[in-house]
């Protein structure tokens, strides 16, 4: 990593430009996401799961990694998106992009409304409030079974071809292409956002919530904005899941989903754009492999993984890697 020193070597403008410059490794990363099409065509459904979960983790990274808001109920927006896209597809029409738009809209409206609560609290109270709101929504979806199908899940979602051409096939070529494309678009948007003055203000809030207003940045207004954006992205991720699997299970709103995405993000490295993406891939591939060995004790290995990451890799896999490359460059 090159050390950027905006105060002495460059103007703010060139600093911002340098932040947003594409690196060769990034381009290689995105080209590598195309490999499953040719190398692992039997794993395409896992690959779409990874793309969807990576998008969800990216949305959590925005609020947790950058703004420092710990949420234990982020699955609320993922689930809202999944149910809105599913219900819209079932009862209105099956065109995929308009379904995603509805998912984004619903998650965004609820996210904006709850952001007024979120921005008022910090620390444990915030964790408990997000947990409580998430559990409330889970209960609501469970009891509104006339609309959501309750614990049986929402059935009968059938989706039309993307652009009217690409049908969702049995092997998952279209599903993965669709999920990957949306992930990439949302990633571009997030990347742009993070490398803007707004993104810098978020990092300021993470480092010191109370001092930011002193330099003219209203912490609470910023939190409301980024929370809404994060909710929208999580909603889109949920929407893609509903559309590509053509069903919605109550599990999309569960506490486990909130906890798992948190684990993935921290595993990959929170506060880094690629942290959630790497974390989701490692987590889901590991789960796929381990649960093949013994499904019942898979949680043992997540537990061990978490303890190891917290004790030995405080900034996740990516943090550990960048420390390693920094040491390698020095010698």
């Amino acid at each position: 990593m090159t050390v950027l020193d905006p105060a002495h070597t460059m103007t703010p403008q060139t600093y911002m430009q340098q932040l947003s410059r594409w690196r060769a490794l990034e381009i290689a990363f995105w080209l590598a996401t195309l490999l499953p099409f040719w190398l692992f065509p039997t794993y395409l459904s896992l690959a779409s799961q990874i793309a969807i979960t990576a998008l969800f983790a990216l949305s959590l990274d925005l609020i947790l990694g950058y703004a420092g808001i710990v949420s234990l109920g982020h699955a609320a927006f993922f689930g809202l998106g999944a149910y809105s896209a599913g219900i819209f597809t079932k009862f209105v029409w099956g065109e995929p992009f308009s379904g995603l738009l509805v998912a984004a809209l619903v998650a965004g409206v609820v996210g904006y409304a709850s952001s007024f609560i979120i921005s008022r609290f910090r620390h444990l109270t915030l964790i408990m409030i997000t947990l409580g709101l998430g559990l409330l929504l889970h209960e609501a979806a469970n009891s509104a079974s006339w609309l959501t199908g309750g614990s049986d899940g929402l059935q009968g979602v059938s989706i039309q071809p993307v652009f009217g051409v690409f049908k969702f096939d049995l092997y998952g070529y279209t599903a993965y292409g669709y999920a990957l494309g949306i992930l990439f678009l949302c990633f571009l948007f997030t990347r742009h956002l993070i490398n803007s003055p707004f993104g810098l203000a978020l990092r300021g809030i993470r480092e010191n919530f109370t001092r930011m207003p002193a330099i003219g940045a209203d912490s609470r207004a910023h939190i409301r904005k980024v929370y809404t954006i994060s909710a929208i992205i999580a909603g889109i991720a949920g929407g893609i899941l509903a559309q590509t699997t053509e069903t919605v299970a109550l599990e999309v709103l569960s506490f486990e989903r909130s906890a798992d995405v948190l684990v993935m993000l921290v595993l990959g490295g929170a506060g880094r754009l690629y942290g959630g993406l790497i974390g989701a891939a490692v987590f889901l591939i590991a789960r796929d492999q381990f649960s093949g060995i013994n499904p019942q004790y898979w949680y043992f290995w997540i537990g061990v993984l978490l303890v190891v990451v917290v004790m030995l890799l405080p900034n996740g896999i990516l943090g550990g890697l960048s420390k390693l490359t920094a040491r390698w460059r020095r010698t």
Binding site: L64, F121, I129, L135, Y299, L306, M311
Partner: protein, 288 residues
């Protein structure tokens, strides 16, 4: 003759006492030491399994197992505190959350490995099983026992933390570690003992809980949410707050299930969110 509302109230308070016994240890560790320990109910689970094993495999009396439930949970917690937790006392909330949730995952898988995933049978002595009739209300003897234990534990804890030398050392070590060290207080030892006390209480709560709520490997997770609710609603570090919150949550849960079953599990979450929005630091809390 008393109207049935008193029966609901009593059951709610008895359930609240159960939640209180499970969570008061966390009120000590999280409230006093500022350590977010999501593995707290795993220590409760250790106490519960120890009690069940002693009763089942060694034919111990239920009451004889209780001290061992306390001791085994305390002992395991000292080991974990020495090896893992003490390095994270000054880490961020998030790191503590992740480490301890990892330990909770491990404990659930380990319990499933050693004891199987089925519910454990409990053999309570026959004289604890019945109920007595009081002015037309059926009051369970075991529930009365729970309420009594809850009150005794509250009094003992408040006395220990407010009126003994040890309590003064704990409060000093928490408020200002450097100053406490300067005064000759062994801060490390004080923290370890406090932590063992909190976890031991969880173990005791776990052993007492199995008669009412049963025991399977998911215990560490299911009751974690309730414990967190009690602690945050009561206010960090306030024993009296946890006591009040546990009663409030217990009563609203039982009353909700009795009078408005359509609301089901909603009510306690609603109560929690409402209380926290009204008082972010909890009912008796001083800091959020």
């Amino acid at each position: 003759m008393l109207p049935p509302v008193f029966g609901v109230l009593f059951d709610g308070i008895a359930y609240g006492m159960l939640l209180f016994l499970l969570s008061v240890g966390m009120s000590v560790t999280l409230g006093l030491m500022n350590f977010v320990n999501l593995a707290h109910c795993a220590f409760g689970m250790i106490g519960a399994y120890v009690a069940v094993m002693l009763m089942k495999d060694f034919n111990w009396n239920f009451f004889a197992t209780l001290p061992f439930a306390f001791l085994s949970a305390a002992l395991v917690s000292v080991v974990v505190e020495r090896t893992l937790y003490r390095k994270l006392y000054r880490a961020t909330d998030l790191d503590q959350v992740l480490l301890t949730i990892g330990l909770a995952f491990i404990s659930v898988a380990a319990a499933a490995w050693f004891f199987g995933t089925t519910q454990q049978p409990v053999a309570m002595p026959s004289y604890m099983r019945g109920s007595i009739n009081f002015l037309g209300l059926n009051i369970g003897i075991y529930r009365m026992f729970l309420v009594a234990v809850g009150i005794v534990v509250t009094i003992l804890l408040v006395m220990t933390l407010e009126h003994t030398r040890f309590g003064a050392q704990v409060r000093a070590a928490v408020d200002n570690q450097r100053m406490a060290r300067g005064l000759g207080i062994d801060v490390d030892r004080t923290f370890a003992v406090t932590f063992a006390l909190g976890s031991g209480l969880a173990g005791l709560g776990g052993a007492l809980a199995i008669e009412i709520v049963g025991l399977d490997p998911h215990f560490a997770f299911i009751y974690l949410v309730y414990v967190l609710i009690v602690v945050s609603v009561g206010g960090l570090g306030s024993i009296a707050g946890s006591f009040a919150a546990a009663c409030l949550i217990g009563i609203s849960d039982i009353a909700g299930k009795y009078y408005v079953p359509e609301l089901g599990g909603f009510l306690i979450y609603l109560v929690m969110v409402a209380v926290l929005m009204w008082k972010p630091a909890g009912l008796f809390g001083k800091r959020s």
